[in-house]
Point group: C2
Chain length 95, copies 2
Amino acid sequence: MIKVIAKGYIKLGEVDKFKEIASVLVKESRKEEENISYGLYQDANNEQILTFIEEWKDQSALDKHMKTSHFVDSMAKLSKFQEKDMDINIYNSCI
Amino acid sequence: MIKVIAKGYIKLGEVDKFKEIASVLVKESRKEEENISYGLYQDANNEQILTFIEEWKDQSALDKHMKTSHFVDSMAKLSKFQEKDMDINIYNSCI
């Protein structure tokens, strides 16, 4: 199992638009067979930080996800609402 | 439910020592009544990035955790092995 943390920095005034597009991505991604969990989270102290927290069966499952039309289309749309590129980390369980 | 992502940047050569202390913190934190999950994860592309991913019942549960001796003691020890302060975000579920 791998975890993905994809932290987005959203432009002021664009948070609701980001969430609207992200909700489609979340719902479609959860339908993928090798997805374990997929959610969008908002920083409790900074509403402009919105982060996808995801769990996938393995790297191959993540690779497949990144080629789906819902991922490619959503990421293109979401990029317009972000101040800069997302911080993305892929993690293996350690303890 | 809230999620905590605490991302640590570990000094070269100190990764094993960080993991050793962190394992005590993880095991003790999982015993707390209002903890939902608590794990340490290593970045798949950079072994010097080690991140705690945690779930707590609510902010009050997290506040209690941060006053426990296992948290206070471990964080003091872990700070020696880090290049800089952790990036810490507290999140509410959004989608």
